[in-house]
């Protein structure tokens, strides 16, 4: 027996307290003056003896209480090899790699069989625990001597699609070692992929006393071709203007020509040949994607010519729809802005909109604007009353309007639907004044994504505005004189974006600058409701299902849940109402119905690091094993041949302490009752 904190034993000096209270204090009495002792008799001895006997139980309880309190703080433990052997001789962690790469050949089947053999080889006193580390390492059982349970756990393990991580495995082994507080043997069944090794060696550190036995299922790297990545548009509006780029990678491969096929809903659309250099990459480009309307399950596939065909395809999903109409209202004398805007929208990577150009007078005849994805008011000047009302209603109902201000704007007037007052139109003389430039950009604003360069853009005519000071108004860009250039104001359910200059090449040279195209594309995409939602994910990644405001709104995910189980509901009823995120653990297509009602399709592919079968070097493996070798420290004790079990006793001491405290209360209470009766 020993103490983990023996210095607390100094607290035993407090035992003097009850001794003082019960014994010493009795003899030291302060004389109490009394009028006359005429009727008293001296009977001291018998009285003290009686008292000491009467309080003996209370005294003993109090002494024991303090003793046990000190003992509990000192953290007593017993170390017994006999006890350890009685509880169980060995602690064995059976770690099985069920990552995507283990699907190669019969690796997983062999590993599983060996793991079952390891369970079988456990002795009578041995205890085992099953761990998987394809993706996040998971404890499949607790440390138990029940071989049946261990065997069942191993048999239930199926190969996954996630990537293995030796740092994850080491973390779990450290946790197991801390829990069992004794030497553990880790039987690791894996393919020793180099790509599973972490960047820092300290991440794979094992606790002293952890013995690592690695059962490798690969002795040399195998050549493997894979579709490493596919770059395809999320939405298709014109099937003739779709560019799909597929990257074909070869790991440990010689020069080869691979056939790359583009499929949509299982139908082959196009096939190409690419030459993949030795141990290198090649790109295949497809310029059409004849997908039907709606969501389409697309796939890039290469001809299988290696030992691991599972990674020879890449799944992706596209959504085909017609371009939406957008309304451009411009003054009759303005011929520039329609050209620039239409050209920019048509040149976009996803030409999602068709432009309907009209003058204010013509637009005033449109009864409702709801059919338009967005509206641009390009330096229109004062709008006809009817059009102004229609625009106001359009914004209130959730539409988005971009207003540009130029020479036609009337100072003092209010911008339609925005509630922003126009103070003046400032025109700079290029010969006398320096043109204004963009001084400040809010990169988090949707119009400015992708690192746009606004440095060369010069503004000669800008509008001065009075902005409402509220949370609905956001200034996304400012000019060099500090005045707002781009303002986003939320109004009703919609947005009004105000550009304090015109969309022509007179007031500024923005349409002539390279930034014009991404600015218009991103601004119109945001206005038209085409966000930047992803459709392609990697196994192990998460997807957000709802925002904070969308509590208790049901979401639904249909997808594969094992071999031959496609389109299975993957969320339970409670998860459907509560889950914030969902983790993709398998490859395949997933139909997601979000809380806001939008339906999406997500294509999930395994991490392509799993396709690289380069092996860890034997030196690295030996270094890893050596991190667990060494003398024990703390409560985990490692010794060769003889295992010692350390059991802390403070819990039992505390339990005893609690019982003693209750006994002391009862005895003390009875004593007080007795005294009360005596006094009464």
């Amino acid at each position: 027996m020993g103490f983990l904190a023996p210095w607390f034993l100094g607290g035993l000096a407090v035992l003097g307290l009850p001794v003082y209270i019960h014994l010493l204090r009795q003899y030291k009495q302060t004389p109490m003056p009394f009028s006359s002792l005429m009727f008293f008799e001296r009977r001291t001895q018998s009285s003290i003896k009686h008292r000491r006997l009467k309080y003996l139980l209370l005294f003993t309880l109090r002494c024991l209480f303090i003793f046990l309190l000190v003992l509990a703080f000192s953290r007593p433990f017993i170390r017994s090899s006999a006890a350890a052997s009685a509880i169980g001789g060995r602690r064995v962690a059976i770690a099985l790699d069920n990552s995507f790469s283990m699907r190669q050949g019969d690796r997983f089947a062999r590993a599983k069989k060996d793991a079952l053999d390891a369970v079988q080889s456990l002795g009578n006193g041995d205890r085992g625990q099953v761990i998987t580390f394809g993706g996040a390492a998971k404890l499949q059982t607790e440390m138990t001597g029940d071989k049946q349970a261990l065997r069942g756990a191993v048999q239930a393990i199926e190969p996954g699609d996630d990537a293995s991580s030796y740092s994850e495995l080491s973390r779990v082994l450290r946790s197991v070692s801390e829990t069992v507080k004794s030497e553990i043997t880790a039987e690791v069944f894996t393919d020793l992929q180099k790509s599973s090794w972490p960047a820092s060696f300290s991440d794979v550190r094992l606790d002293p006393g952890t013995k690592l036995n690695i059962h490798a299922y690969a002795d040399q790297p195998i050549p493997n071709f894979t579709v490493e990545n596919v770059d395809a548009p999320r939405r298709v509006f014109d099937t003739k203007k779709v560019r799909t780029l597929a990257t074909i990678a070869g790991f440990n491969t010689p020069d080869a020509t691979r056939t790359v096929t583009l499929l949509a809903d299982g139908k082959t659309l196009e096939t190409k040949q690419v030459k993949v250099p030795a141990n290198g990459r090649a790109t295949a480009e497809f310029l059409t994607l004849d997908a039907p309307y709606g969501m389409t399950k697309c796939e890039i596939r290469i001809d299988s010519a290696d030992a691991f065909p599972d990674d020879d395809r890449w799944l992706f999903a596209v959504e085909r729809s017609d371009p939406k109409p957008a309304l451009l209202v411009h003054s009759s004398g303005d011929n520039n802005s329609p050209i620039y805007i239409r050209t920019a929208l048509e040149a976009a990577t996803e030409p999602a909109f068709t432009v309907d150009s009209q003058t204010p007078e013509q637009a005033a005849g449109i009864p409702a604007l709801s059919k338009y994805a967005f509206v641009i008011l390009s330096d229109t000047g004062p709008l006809p009353q009817r059009l102004a009302e229609t625009v106001e209603k359009y914004v209130q109902d959730g539409g988005s309007v971009l207003i540009s201000l130029g020479k036609n704007a009337v100072p003092g007037g209010k911008l339609p639907a925005a509630g922003i007052q126009l103070l003046q139109i400032r025109t700079l003389m290029p010969d006398h004044e320096r043109a204004l430039t963009v001084a400040q950009i809010d990169n988090s604003y949707s119009s400015f994504g992708g690192g746009q360069n606004w440095d060369g853009v010069e503004f000669l005519q800008v509008a001065k505005l009075t902005l409402p000071q509220d949370a609905s108004t956001r200034v996304a860009a400012r000019l060099s004189d500090g005045s707002p250039l781009l303002i986003d104001r939320k109004s009703g359910e919609g947005h009004v974006i105000v550009l304090a200059s015109a969309l022509d090449n007179v007031a500024n040279d923005l349409p002539l600058q390279p930034v014009w195209l991404p600015f218009i594309e991103q601004t119109t995409h945001e206005m038209g409701g085409i966000g930047a939602a992803r459709t392609n994910y990697r196994v192990g990644s998460y997807v957000d299902l709802r925002t904070v405001k969308e509590k208790n709104v049901p979401v639904e995910i249909l997808g594969p849940n094992g071999p031959g189980q496609d389109n299975v509901r993957l969320l339970s009823l409670s998860d459907s109402a509560k889950a914030q995120t969902f983790q993709f653990v398998r490859q395949g297509y997933f139909d997601i119905r979000r809380a806001n009602g939008r339906e999406e399709m997500a294509a999930v592919n395994p991490d392509r690091r799993e396709s690289d079968f380069t092996l860890l070097t034997p030196d690295t493996v030996n270094l890893w094993k050596n991190t667990g070798v060494g003398s024990g420290s703390g409560t985990a004790v490692a010794s060769t041949g003889n295992t010692e079990e350390t059991s802390e006793l403070w819990w039992w001491v505390l339990a005893l302490l609690a019982i003693l405290a209750m006994a002391e209360v009862v005895v003390g209470d009875r004593h007080l009752e007795q005294v009360g009766k005596e006094v009464g």
């Binding site: 109490m32 006359s36 009727f39 001291t44 009285s47 005294v675």
Partner: protein, 295 residues
């Protein structure tokens, strides 16, 4: 009828002894609903028509003035009686288990009695004693006698031991006339011995009243633990157990009180027991009521 008596602790908070006496006496007298002229010597008895030979000093001239008839005002007992109050100031009288000491209680009692007697124009005197006579105010009916008595009572402080024999021998030389002798003490002495010392006063025709003043802790001590008691008079310490105090001591003190009461009755002395935790006016009122009935 409900009689509201005054807590001794409240009396202790009154600084003026004169006021204490007035408060006590006026309070219980008002509560009696009887004539204030009773108790000691000058107690009105009756009116009688004058007959020749009667002393003209007893004629009630007020009645004569109103009715033109001559009546004599008759009193019961003696007139111009002498009241001598003996206040024990031994060290044991300084004991208290609460706020008010036995000496304070005795002082209030003495002051109240002096106030009453003075109100009846009796010659009131005071002897303060412990083992010797500490102060003596001769009985007198002179103006200011009450204040002299109260002043002497005020100055009384707890002294040393009690010795009844020595001062009581001296008392006898001060008693030239018959009267009432009131002894206020805790009487920590053998009852027989006390009565033996006091009894001679009775032989001179005096009426002797013993006021036995004790603290509640002396009557029924309550100790939680064994205590070391120190006798305030002779500084002897003694450890006492709660069991003893609860049993044997109580028997002894009860026996002592009863013994003193019996001995006093046998010697023709009046005995009044007073607990310092009980209202003074209550005890005094009871005593006077009993005394009146006895007459």
């Amino acid at each position: 009828m409900l009689q509201r008596f005054i807590d001794p602790n409240i009396l202790a908070s009154i600084s003026s002894l004169d006021l204490v006496a007035k408060t006590v006496v006026d309070g219980f007298v008002a509560g009696l609903h009887r004539s204030p002229t009773f108790g000691f010597s000058q107690e009105f008895a009756e009116y009688r028509q004058y007959v020749q030979g009667d002393d003209l000093r007893h004629v009630d001239w007020n009645v004569f003035a109103r009715t033109d008839r001559v009546y004599l005002k008759r009193f019961r007992g003696e007139t111009n009686s002498q009241v001598l109050i003996l206040l024990d100031t031994s060290a044991s009288m300084g004991y208290t288990s609460g706020k008010i000491t036995k000496l304070d209680y005795g002082r209030f009692l003495a002051a109240s009695l002096a106030y009453m007697a003075s109100g009846q124009r009796d010659a009131t005197g005071l002897i303060v004693f412990d083992e010797d006579i500490a102060n003596y105010v001769p009985p007198s009916t002179r103006q200011g006698q009450l204040m002299r008595n109260l002043h002497a009572i005020e100055k009384a402080e707890a002294g040393s031991r009690t010795d009844f024999s020595k001062p009581f021998v001296h008392f006898q030389q001060f008693l030239h006339r018959r009267g009432i002798v009131i002894v206020i003490s805790d009487f920590y002495e053998d009852p027989a011995k006390i009565c033996k010392v006091v009894e001679p006063l009775r032989y001179h025709g005096n009426e002797v009243v013993l006021f036995h003043v004790l603290d509640p802790q002396e009557i029924a001590p309550k100790f939680r633990d064994p205590v070391l008691l120190l006798d305030v008079e002779d500084n002897v310490a003694m450890e006492v157990t709660p069991e003893y105090a609860r049993t044997e001591y109580r028997q002894k003190i009860d026996h002592h009180i009863k013994g003193l009461s019996d001995e006093a009755a046998r010697a023709g002395l009046e005995y009044v027991f007073m607990d310092t935790s009980k209202p003074l006016d209550s005890g005094l009122r009871n005593y006077l009521a009993v005394r009146q009935r006895r007459r």
